[in-house]
Symmetry: C2
Subunit: 187 residues, 2 copies
DNA sequence: TATATCCTACCTAACGTTTGGTAGGCAAAC
DNA sequence: GTTTGCCTACCAAACGTTAGGTAGGATATA
């Protein structure tokens, strides 16, 4: 259980923070989820801020890898873009959880600086991937790609938030459909 | 200061919850903001859950009144719809705050039932107003108005969340512009 | 080969602080 | 003379964090 514990802490903390936020993440529950004692977490992370920053960093790194894999597997840029909402759907599928960085965006005033930086990196990763895809698919001109990418990211985040508040994953699907029908997402 | 204190508590609690959420709302800071002692809050509200429910209820009541006034003042339904994003912009203008119910939607797992019910009522109020306006403006058919209204509400919520995380109100404006350009909102 | 030293991973126990909430009193208003 | 509004003074529980210790494995020295 050498390096495994650190990874287990990271994974469990992510799940807790996706359901309860940074403020709702506490060492006793986290330790219990991992199967160790609260004080033992300090062997792996010097503080809650460092832990949360590591969790958020890992979160956007995993998301970046997932999006790259999605782009690589799709037959073309349009098909990859069409699958983008699936990435956010998975959090809802996973016990009605929220995107970690949506939750932390709400808590931004109470976040340590190092955590806030990682939360912003998550948005940057998403926007960059979307912008690249929008240009490759010929949907928008390169100079307008970033703005459209941000709009898609924000709208998808909002859809996930609303669906979560009702614990209704089909609501997420119909919201995505509405975005497509309205022309925000490629149909 | 008879009924005034109760109103002052309600108002101060709303501002705190819009910045720090339900979990971040605490009696000592709230009392300090009002200018009384923490224990005195219990004279007006029997518990934190009751206080938060009252705050959320007042929040959607105020929003409903504000939206009705907006509809009444606008020359037509399309003009009223165009002003909808202004309602959410005001929270950002007010020290980069978030919609109370967006924050609480994220915290939904940790909310007392009576609070959760009021949070959902807020979304219902917004969706109903939007749906009515969309039909009146002839933008969508009556049977599709609710779905489109939900999409607009979710997208605007997401835009506010993203803009808040960057403390950048101009980002909110460009997101709204993008929604208009894409066809989600009436241009 | 035996032993001394160090590191890793975790523990128990407690720290000071903050949390929501309670008990009881006191002054003014009705 | 009871109700209203707020107070002081607490409380138990939970919070992030620290101190100090233990068991076992790796490494270096004799």
């Amino acid at each position: 259980m050498s390096t495994n514990s650190k990874e287990a802490i990271l994974a469990a903390a992510r799940l807790i923070a996706q359901a309860h936020g940074y403020g709702g993440l506490n060492y006793r529950d986290l330790a219990a989820a991992v199967g160790i004692k609260a004080a033992s977490i300090y062997h792996h992370f010097p503080s809650k801020a460092d832990l949360a920053a590591a969790v958020a960093k890992r979160y956007w790194e995993d998301t970046a890898a997932e999006l790259e894999a999605m782009a690589a597997q799709a037959p073309n840029a349009t098909a990859a873009l069409r699958r983008y909402p699936q990435a956010f759907r998975r959090a809802l599928e996973n016990d009605n959880r929220l995107c970690l960085c949506s939750f932390m965006s709400a808590e931004v005033d109470d976040l340590p600086d190092i955590v806030r930086a990682e939360v912003r990196a998550f948005a940057d990763v998403n926007v960059a991937w979307l912008a690249k895809g929008l240009v490759a698919a010929g949907i928008v001109a390169p100079d307008k790609a970033a703005a459209r990418a941000r709009a898609i990211f924000a709208a998808i985040s909002g859809a996930q938030l609303m669906a979560r508040s009702r614990a209704d994953i089909s609501l997420y699907d119909t919201l995505v459909d509405s975005y497509r029908a309205a022309g925000l997402l490629p149909a």
